[in-house]
């Protein structure tokens, strides 16, 4: 007897759409045992998560705030995944985007609100794009593995931001704490409904829509898909694969950079040490679960937003240690990915 893993033959529309839901159900079922081990009724806990994150205007607004950077970063990563380019560097690109936007906000001297936001947008877009573009260039020119380059460049970006906020960009009135001065009102997004929900969320939705149209309705989008699934054939068909690889990584990083723009302009209103608690890494999971679809990214980001915001209430309601909450969230993500795998593949025992 031997265990083999093989691809499932069925791939009906119904199956594909129900797959993520089945994944979530299985994940919640298994995570339930962890909650039971902590003497907590899983159903009560799940209800609490939903009520906390969706049950009030405040909860919903906070969930959307949390969803915003995840959408940007998820879109960036999933665009590259489309072409089988593995951009692991969304975290660093987010930081560089935040840096670009912050530079404009603090030092450009622009007085007009819309001009300021536009300039911040462009700066973040370019900084994130160029940062990822380095990996794109190396990959297109010399076949350097982009996984390694984008991953390692995260550390450089984060340390570079640390240098700025500890050194030249430090808030002169901040008593050496690692953050910049706060932005003037001209460099801030509008907030809505007396909550922290800001324009960044709507910008993220618009970005998802544009990307969806770009992939599905333009020749470039088509080329990206072809190069992704069969680079040889694409080359024979006369497509410029090198240029496409660079372009896609640039765009991927630029969109991830917008996450940084949105975080500083909408939420933090300054650049500081530890501006992202790992959105860029979560984005990889999002892109994977979303099956590289732009609309899917929005949905999955929202679900993770619910998980992150709602999960926090477990701490308060039951005074669970934070490690328990992390373990719970980790378990959910793990089972989402695992059940996703078993939906596409199946294990089978065969006789020798």
């Amino acid at each position: 007897m031997k265990l083999v893993i093989e691809r499932r033959e069925i791939s009906s529309r119904l199956f594909r759409f129900s797959a993520p839901l089945v994944s979530i159900a299985v994940a919640l079922f298994v995570a339930g045992f962890l909650l039971l081990a902590g003497d907590i009724n899983p159903l009560a806990a799940y209800q609490e998560i939903i009520v906390e994150s969706l049950g009030s205007r405040y909860g919903l607004s906070e969930t959307l705030v949390k969803t915003t950077p995840l959408i940007f970063a998820g879109l960036g990563v999933s665009l590259a995944f489309r072409m089988q380019i593995w951009n692991i560097g969304a975290e660093g690109q987010l930081y560089m985007g935040a840096m670009g936007a912050t530079w404009v906000a603090l030092f450009s001297g622009i007085q007009n609100h819309w001009l300021m936001l536009t300039a911040m947008f462009l700066a973040a877009f370019m900084c994130g794009g160029v940062w990822a573009g380095v990996a794109g260039f190396l990959r297109a020119r010399w076949q350097v593995n982009e996984v390694i380059v984008t991953l390692l460049m995260n550390y450089i970006a984060i340390l570079w931001i640390d240098y700025l906020v500890y050194g030249p960009w430090k808030d002169p009135r901040g008593f050496n704490f690692p953050y910049t001065a706060v932005f003037a009102d001209t460099a801030r997004f509008a907030e809505y409904f007396n909550t922290r929900l800001h324009s960044g969320f709507f910008l993220a939705l618009a970005c998802a829509l544009i990307l969806f149209l770009f992939i599905e309705r333009t020749i470039w989008g088509y080329e990206i898909k072809v190069i992704g699934s069969n680079p040889k054939a694409a080359q024979y068909a006369g497509m410029q694969t090198g240029m496409a690889i660079f372009g896609v990584l640039f765009l991927s990083g630029a969109i991830a950079g917008l996450a940084g723009f949105s975080e500083v302009a909408g939420l933090q209103h300054r650049l500081q040490h530890g501006i992202s608690p790992g959105y860029g890494y979560t984005a990889i999971i999002i892109a994977w679960l979303a099956k590289r679809s732009a609309i899917g990214v929005v949905i999955v980001s929202f679900l993770l937003g619910v998980l992150f915001v709602g999960g926090e209430s477990l701490q308060l309601t039951w005074q669970l240690p934070v490690a328990f909450v992390y373990a719970f969230q980790g378990l959910i993500l793990f089972f989402l990915l695992a059940s996703d795998f078993f939906i596409i593949y199946r294990p089978r025992l065969i006789r020798r």
Binding site: S56, Y58, E62, V65, K66, D162, Y166, G167, K170, F175, N176, F177, P178, V182, R196, E263, L267, Q268, Q272, H273, G274, I275, P277, V309, E312, S313, Q315, L316, Q319, P321, V322, A323
Partner: protein
């Protein structure tokens, strides 16, 4: 008769009204930067919370641990205000602006921020003169070092930490003018791995006594493994390094927390700055290790008594800075605002403050 009765009734009514308006039941929440099990900073705050929880009018105290400094903190604090907690404590420097942001939205909630400098009508800040404990522990370190190199693992170059390093160094020099204090920054309050690495790098360059300004006992564990001495921070950390542990300046937040709760309950609370000294009991020194000679124990006790009685100020001139320039002339001493914004190292400290 009727009139008397009416007056009595009116008085009774007024008293009831007054007490209803002022005697407030408290639902308090604490926002911590690390886990309650860190064995140091957050652990000490949580002990204070537990003491406050014993008060009859404190109906509930809850906490949220390991909250990152920045926008995440705003969400957590706002969530607590939304849930009806009427007294909210935030216990890390980086929570200052998030706390102020939420305080501006929830005018009926009392906020107390630890270790910052901003206040509002409904937001106070509170802290203790921890540098007094740092000074006393410095005396012990100065007496115990043989290599005359003392290592100091420090979180962020903010005035609080710098003041502690300076006071510690002045304590060292009290008994051992030749000793140097080497400082390494970690850029984190809570990261046992990073703290331990920094501690080991100091041991590698010859330090035989370590001190630190971090939230966890990782530095002490590094000293314990190498058979060196170490000074704890925030909480009595001897259980983590029984042989290395010499002493530790420690927090006793219960005095502060019960006072604040009492003021809120009585309606006398205001958003103001509180910076309490060693005489209030908020700052203490953990019992000294048996390895410390008796004459040093006596000296520490004497200096502590002088501080309590205000007979002695730690930062009194002449004090030179790192480069040998006079920072404080003889006969003078720093004012509270000068202490609270301290941004230089005294002579004897080896390290740099990022400019």
């Amino acid at each position: 008769m009727m009139k008397k009765f009416a007056v009595l009734l009116l008085t009774l009514f007024l008293v009831c009204c007054a007490s209803a308006a002022f005697a407030k039941d408290i639902k308090a929440a604490f926002v911590y930067v690390g886990p309650v099990g860190d064995g140091g900073w957050t652990y000490a705050h949580d002990q204070g919370r537990a003491a406050m929880d014993q008060l009859p009018y404190v109906k509930e105290t809850k906490y949220i641990e390991s909250v990152p400094e920045g926008a995440e903190a705003t969400r957590v604090i706002m969530g607590l205000a939304n849930k009806g907690y009427n007294l909210i404590f935030t216990t890390s420097f980086g929570f200052m602006d998030p706390t102020l942001e939420v305080a501006n939205r929830f005018k009926d909630v009392a906020f107390e921020h630890c270790s910052g400098y901003k206040t509002a009508a409904n937001m106070g800040n509170y802290f203790g003169k921890f540098y007094q404990g740092k000074y006393l522990s410095g005396i012990v370190a100065g007496a115990m070092t043989k290599s005359n190199t003392i290592g100091y693992v420090a979180a962020y170059p903010i005035p609080e930490v710098i003041r502690g390093i300076n006071a510690f160094t002045l304590g060292v020099q009290e008994v051992n003018p030749a000793a140097k204090v080497k400082v390494v920054w970690t850029s984190t309050w809570f990261d046992p791995g990073k703290e331990k690495q920094a501690a080991e790098s100091l041991l590698d360059v010859g330090a035989d006594v370590l001190s630190m300004h971090q939230d966890t006992p990782a530095t002490l564990q590094a000293a314990e493994e190498r058979g060196k001495f170490a000074i704890g921070n925030d909480s009595d950390m001897r259980q983590f390094a029984p042989n290395a542990f010499l002493t530790a300046p420690i927090w006793n937040w219960s005095v502060m927390y019960t006072k604040i709760a009492e003021d809120v309950h009585n309606g006398t609370w205001k958003g103001e700055e509180k910076w309490w000294g060693i005489e209030t009991g908020i700052v203490q020194l953990a019992p000294l290790s048996d390895a410390v000679p008796q004459n040093i124990k006596d000296l520490v006790a004497q200096k502590q008594q002088e501080l309590v009685e205000h007979k002695f100020k730690i930062f009194s001139g002449p004090i030179k800075d790192q480069d040998g320039k006079v920072a404080l002339e003889a006969g003078k001493s720093f004012t509270d605002p000068e202490l609270l914004s301290m941004n230089f190292f005294v002579e004897g400290v080896q390290g740099t403050i990022p400019k």
